[in-house]
Subunit: 470 residues, 2 copies
Amino acid sequence: MTTQTGRTALVDELIAIAGPGAVLTDAADMEPYAVDWRRMFFGTPLCVVRPAATQEVADIVRACARHGAAVVPQGGNTGLAGGATPDGSGGEVVLSLQRMACIRALDPVGMTMEVEAGAILQTVREAALEQGRMFPTGIGAEGSATIGGIVSTNAGGVNVLRYGMTRALVLGLEVVLADGTVVNGLRRLRKDNAGYDWKQLFIGSEGTLGIVTAAVLRLVPAPQHSVTAFIAVPDIDAALAFYSLAQSRIGDTLSAFELISAASVGLQEKHFGLKSPASGGQWFILLEGASSLAGIGEAVESLLAEAFESGLAVDGVAAASQQQARALWEIRERITEAEGREGRSVKHDISVPVTAIPAFLADAGKALEDLSPALRLNVFGHLGDGNLHYNVMMAGPGDDGAAINRTVHDAVLRHGGSISAEHGLGQYRVGEWLRTKTPAEQALSAALKQTLDPAGLLNPGKVLPRRDRG
Amino acid sequence: MTTQTGRTALVDELIAIAGPGAVLTDAADMEPYAVDWRRMFFGTPLCVVRPAATQEVADIVRACARHGAAVVPQGGNTGLAGGATPDGSGGEVVLSLQRMACIRALDPVGMTMEVEAGAILQTVREAALEQGRMFPTGIGAEGSATIGGIVSTNAGGVNVLRYGMTRALVLGLEVVLADGTVVNGLRRLRKDNAGYDWKQLFIGSEGTLGIVTAAVLRLVPAPQHSVTAFIAVPDIDAALAFYSLAQSRIGDTLSAFELISAASVGLQEKHFGLKSPASGGQWFILLEGASSLAGIGEAVESLLAEAFESGLAVDGVAAASQQQARALWEIRERITEAEGREGRSVKHDISVPVTAIPAFLADAGKALEDLSPALRLNVFGHLGDGNLHYNVMMAGPGDDGAAINRTVHDAVLRHGGSISAEHGLGQYRVGEWLRTKTPAEQALSAALKQTLDPAGLLNPGKVLPRRDRG
């Protein structure tokens, strides 16, 4: 759709569908929808349309298809890979789901919740907690992130270890297909093997195969007792052995097992001044155990005693109150911001098999040193998931971000890992996906895209390359 | 492929690929592969081929495609819906994965296991337990069922409540596509958002989209302490209220919450004589709590006390030993066999939202009584999953099995349920799927089949209708 007349006609149609107040065309109004959260990608949409109902979404998709205009679905716009940012052509339509924010039903006995795509994650979590239930997906951006966004990106977070990715928490979906068909799969069932589980295709595909308009979520009982501990371990092998011990002793109660490098804690201390409650090791573990049984406190104490005795841990503290636990988590949560204050960095969201972490760290560290000896690392992540935020602080303007990226990803591949554990590909990692995936997987992915979006109008250039480039 | 010459040529090619000992053509040799476990479906295959490696599977699929012959993949042949039984045309090739039974790797620290499709479920579970880890999918047929089979059918079982269906336990897959392409996605990663999660398509699609040749499974720590209790509850509303109470008190430790009707216990007593340890209610609950924390015993006692006090339970016993626990489970496990001894029945594997169970039971019971007042019910299942084995005992030769089927399924649909919770559609439920699914879901399913198996040669007539009939 390249003519000005065509563009004006499409905007008029969208206004007719969603109402004049629901279509933004002014550049200043559109700016919050046109730039990603990390300010890496800057788009120029034709307009932003904010429908209030599934049928409006279907009508919008159909109108855009008639005009050959691409649709870029967007939730809270908190993605970390540019997956919800339009291109600079001035022809893409941002479809914001924010106004569809209704919690349609919450069943605390069946432990399900039906919500619209634009519902804020934090709102959903609070509504569940009020009924003694929990929606486990928890991420830093939960105050802005939407259910449609976390479903479309299969969001992770710190509790994946226990509850799985968002995929494991979706029971039903409603999606709008590229031709405007509404497929209603909003079943509130915990088991359903009646045919292909087509909803899986739309989870984690970042709006490139269809648009998620509502979901049925699975809730879990909220645990009554929890313990948080912050532990210094001598080296990465000890960290892994400590993890294995924790799994054997209290594995079913582990809700977080975070790995933090001494350098990360140092960065945080430098910029925020929160004093580490443990010292003497190269790595730290932030561990959370939670259970309906009060014995979890004693069990964690006993685990720590065993770890100290066997030399797997050298120092540590278990929180005696909710407030102390919050303080321990704050050390972890400040790391990303501290990194930003320190200077420019190249971020990686990688995973490797849990047992490959020590070998990967040695290998990647060596490869980066060969590339540029002045690079420093800020490594932290979810040890139990094999997911590391392996961030490389750039030493000067001469450092080549793309080369750093390739160096890290090549090491990831040598250890059987993934170039995106939880953030998704968006537009940021499409090139690396093309470079690193096998031809068979690329062909299969392209076939699915071709089937579900033959005209290539759903979020083009995200996850897969644009067709004309591919 | 209809000519005798073509058939002989294909058999010769298969022998060249897999070796003469790996191709069965004698009717007596083929019989165990040609009839389903329930002896509802009787097929006449062209031959049975038993490859020993993935590349042989690929070559076999390619040879069959060249000859236009359909391929029916088969594992332990324990399915309950005829999903692995060939048709009667004499032209379909049964591809048995049984010889590919290797456990390639078991990582107790990373808690993953890579196994070939033909590995026996029980063998896999025992191998994990030897390392203090557990593969949670457990079903009655685990001594024969294979990993390829449980992945392809997304098998359920009694522990779904806690660990999810098999889908939640698959980290990586290797599949052979309809054109013989091998797609290797055997990643041992707990988190991987690098592109479309294409493996989800092959889980639960019963070999109609591709053939699973190997999988990476997710293991969990084996809980050290468990308690089993058998409880009589006055009525179905009390059963549901008791379930909700159990979730609030010890939800994270619940690994089973089975519902058994008094009639089911009666059938079992009649044919096997195992005495029920509780009485006085219309329904029974078989509950299992398991934890790494020893406090689980006390917590279950306290839950039962609260249930008795509030009138949600009227009688019951908690097992004091592993042996007693086994005895309680045996009551549950004998029900199906007792039903068989009692006479002919129409079995249903349905699910409804957990909170809809009482209304569904009333509604379905009424509808069946209207159909034929002499029908009796044998209802038991997984309450926490909303999954009931709602079996109807036929009173005489005049009863119409298909009408009973439709009556039950119509009630299921009125309550937002599924006509197959865990057994899958196979060939048994394709007609009911066609009758009950929305056009949008049918079209989406057909589009996926068309993309991945354009010639319709992968397990035709299973999950979806055969193309010429569709």
